[in-house]
Symmetry: C2
Subunit: 397 residues, 2 copies
C-alpha cells in the first residue's frame, strides 16, 4: 500500500466539485462527489437519538437502493432539529441533485453540517446546485465541507489487488461535537474497487470501532455524523469477497484511510494545539482497552494539563479508574512519551528536562499498561485550550 498525492476524486470514475453558495458568508460551503456509474455503498450513522433530516433521508435511500452515485453536502447549516419542514427540505435537496444529474433520487446521498435548528435556505441551495459541475474542482470539495475546522482532511492510497491497482481516497470534516459511538463527524471515502455493498458494509463496520469511534474532542455526539463509503468497481478487479485474503487487504487499506482521517480530525479539534494519542495495553479485553484509552483522551483535566505542558499523570490514573472497566489497579504502568511516570501503581521520579521535551512536542503519546491481559487499543484526541472555549462561546454570534 502506498500513500499518494490526490483527493476524493482520485479513484477511477469519480469526480468532485466545491464552491461558495451562500450558506456561509464567504467560505466554500457546498460541494458534491459524483461517480460515473452507480457504486456500492456502505454507511454508519450517528448514535444520537436526535438524528438530523439529511441522515434520515440518506440512510433510507441506502437501505432501499443499495447503491449510490452522488453525495451532495452543504456546510454552515446542519438542517437538524428542523421538524417536518427540515425533512421536506432534505428530500428536496436530494431530488434537485438527482434531477440535475439525471439519476434516481435514491442514488443521491445528502449531508449537512453546521448550526443546529436553522432551516436550509433553499434558494441558496438551488443557486449553489446550478453552479456545481461534474468534473469540477475536486480539490475544493474538502474545503467546502469544513465548519470550524482549520485544515482540510484528505488522504489517498493505492494498492495492488493481483495485477489491478485499486485507489482509495477519503475526506473528512469535524472539529467540535466529536465523540464516541459512530461517526461523530462527516467522512466520505471513495474507491474504485469491485466489491458489493454488503461486503463494503462489513469492512466499514469492522473498522469503525477502532478508528472513528476512538476519537473524542469534547464528548458531545452530534446529530449529523455519518461516514459513507462508495466503491464503483471501475478498476474492474476480481470482486473482493468476505473471508478472503483480498478482503483482509481491503480492510487494511480502509483501516489506514479511516485511522488517518480520524487522527486528522483529532489533531484539528477545536482550539487544539496538540494531538494526544493514548495506548492502553495489558487489558483483559479489547472493549475495556478501547474504553480506557478513550476515557483518558476525553478527560478535561488530562486535556487541560497537556495544553499546559504539565505531566500531571495523577489525572491519567484517575481517568483509568473511572473509565468504567472492571480492572485491578495494583500493577499499572504509565508513560508519557517514553518516560515512565508510574510503575506498578507507584510514582517514579523522572528527569524534568527530558519530560519538558516530551510535553512540548506537537503529539503527546500516553501509554498505560494494566498488566492484566493481552488486549490493547488506541484513542486519539486533543488538548483543551482557551481557544476551544472562545470558539464555542462565540460560535453562533
Amino acid at each position: 500500500m502506498k500513500v499518494v498525492e490526490g483527493n476524493i476524486a482520485s479513484p477511477l470514475g469519480f469526480s468532485a466539485d466545491g464552491l461558495h453558495a451562500g450558506f456561509k458568508k464567504k467560505k466554500l460551503d457546498f460541494g458534491w462527489i459524483v461517480s460515473e456509474v452507480p457504486a456500492s455503498v456502505a454507511g454508519v450513522y450517528t448514535t444520537n437519538k436526535v438524528i438530523a433530516a439529511p441522515l434520515l433521508v440518506t440512510k433510507a435511500s441506502v437501505q432501499k437502493e443499495g447503491k449510490m452515485q452522488a453525495i451532495v453536502v452543504n456546510s454552515g447549516v446542519a438542517n437538524s432539529c428542523t421538524g417536518q419542514k427540515g425533512l421536506e427540505d432534505a428530500k428536496e435537496m436530494q431530488a434537485l441533485t438527482a434531477t440535475k444529474l439525471g439519476i434516481a433520487p435514491d442514488l443521491v446521498g445528502i449531508a449537512s453540517t453546521g448550526v443546529i435548528g436553522d432551516f436550509l435556505p433553499m434558494a441558496v441551495l438551488k443557486k449553489g446546485l446550478s453552479k456545481l459541475v461534474v468534473n469540477g474542482n475536486s480539490h475544493d470539495f474538502a474545503k467546502a465541507i469544513l465548519t470550524t475546522d482549520t485544515k482540510e482532511k484528505t488522504i489517498a492510497v493505492t494498492d495492488y489487488f493481483g495485477k489491478d491497482e485499486v485507489t482509495m481516497a477519503g475526506v473528512a470534516k469535524g472539529s467540535g461535537m466529536i465523540h464516541p459511538n459512530m461517526a461523530t463527524m462527516l467522512a466520505f471515502i471513495t474507491c474504485d474497487a469491485n466489491i458489493s455493498s454488503e461486503t463494503l458494509q462489513l469492512a466499514l463496520s469492522k473498522n469503525v470501532e477502532t478508528t472513528f469511534n476512538q476519537i473524542t474532542i469534547d464528548g458531545d455526539t452530534s446529530t449529523n455524523d455519518m461516514v459513507l463509503v462508495m466503491a464503483n468497481g471501475c478498476t474492474k478487479n476480481k470482486e473482493i469477497l468476505p473471508e478472503t485474503p483480498a478482503f483482509d487487504q481491503f480492510c487494511q487499506m480502509l483501516s489506514f484511510v479511516m485511522t488517518d482521517l480520524a487522527k486528522k480530525i483529532a489533531q484539528d479539534g477545536e482550539g487544539a494545539t496538540k494531538l494526544i494519542e493514548v495506548k492502553a495495553e495489558g487489558v483483559a479485553n479489547e472493549l475495556d482497552a478501547r474504553m480506557i484509552a478513550k476515557t483518558i483522551v476525553g478527560s478535561s483535566l488530562v486535556k487541560t494539563a497537556i495544553f499546559g505542558e504539565d505531566p500531571n499523570w495523577g489525572r491519567i490514573i484517575a481517568a483509568v479508574g473511572y473509565a468504567g472497566a472492571d480492572i485491578s489497579v495494583d500493577q499499572i504502568d504509565i508513560s508519557l512519551g517514553d518516560i515512565p511516570v508510574m510503575v506498578a501503581s507507584s510514582p517514579v521520579d523522572f528527569d524534568e528536562e527530558d519530560m519538558a521535551d516530551v510535553m512540548q512536542a506537537d503529539t503527546i503519546r500516553i501509554s498505560v499498561n494494566l498488566h492484566s491481559g493481552s488486549s490493547s487499543a488506541k484513542a486519539w484526541g486533543c488538548d483543551l485550550s482557551y481557544d476551544y472555549v472562545k470558539i464555542n462561546a462565540l460560535y453562533r454570534t
Copy 2:
C-alpha cells in the same frame, strides 16, 4: 425547618478547628471536627476504581467501628496513588489524631484533597496536629479544606422533632474533578440528632443520588471523594427510626443541606461564572430524567455556550439525544429561563432582548420536557470558561 447562621460546629456537642500547617504555601490547609461523644456515622465514597489511601482507611474504620468521633482533613496533598507508603501514612494520620484526642483510632475519619501522587509530608502533618485544638476556631475549618475553590461552602439548619430542636450543619469543598456517581468532592455533615448509624446510612444513601450525584463540573470523578455524616445524639430527642414521619422529616433536612452544598459546589466550579440548573420533566422514569439533566449540564458545548451567553439550544437537544436514555424525540419542549425555544421538537422564535436578560443572569435555568412520562429530575453545573482552562493547565506549576 429554618436556615440559621452557623458552621459545622453549630450542632450540640461538636467543635472544629482550622489552621495553616504547611501542606500549602500560605493558605489554611489542616483542620478537624470533633464530637464530645462517639457519633453515629454514615458515608458514601468515590466510585473511582482508584481509591485514595485516606478513603480506604476511613471506610474500613466506619465498617469496623460503626461510630465516629472526629474527622481530620488536610488540603494540598491528596495522598492518592501513593502505594503502600501512602496507606501507612494515612494510618499514621489516623493514629496520631486518635492519640492526641485520647480515643480509639477507628473513631477517627481522615480525608485528604489536593495533588494526586505526592506523599503526605508527615512532619508538616505532625506540626499541624500539635497546633489543632478542641473548641478551636470552628469557622476556619471550612477554609482549611478548600483547594481551587474560591468560596467556603457551609450551611446550617434547625428543625423541631416534637419539642426537641435538632441542628444540622454541612461543609463541603470541591471545584474540579467533580462528576457523577458518588461524592465527587468532600462533604461533612454534623447533626445532634439521636439516630443510629444504620438509619443515618439509609437517609444518606437515599438522598445522595438526587443531590451530590447530580452535579458535574468537568466529568472527572476523583479518587478522593467522600461524604461523611455524623450524628451524636446530643439533642437527646426520641430516636429517629426508619419508616416514620420523623425519618421523612430528617431526610428532608438532610436533602436540603446536601442540595445546598451541591449547588454551592457547582456554582464555585473551576472558572465558573454562572450556575446552571437543568430540570428534565415528563420522562418515563427517574433514572432517565437524572441522566438527561446531568448530560445536558455536563456538555462542554452547552457549558461554553452559556459562558458566551449564547442561547444555542441546538446543543441542548443534541445532549438530550446522546444522554443514553431510550426516549422518543418527537415532542420535546425546551425553555431557557421562562422562554420557550423549542416546542414539540421544532424551533420557535423568541424575543432576543428578553433572551439576553435570561442569559446574562448569574443562574441559568434550562427546562426540558419530553412529554413521555411523569418523572423529573434536576442537575447542577457551571459554565466552561477561559479560567477553567487556565486553572487546570497551570495547576501543578
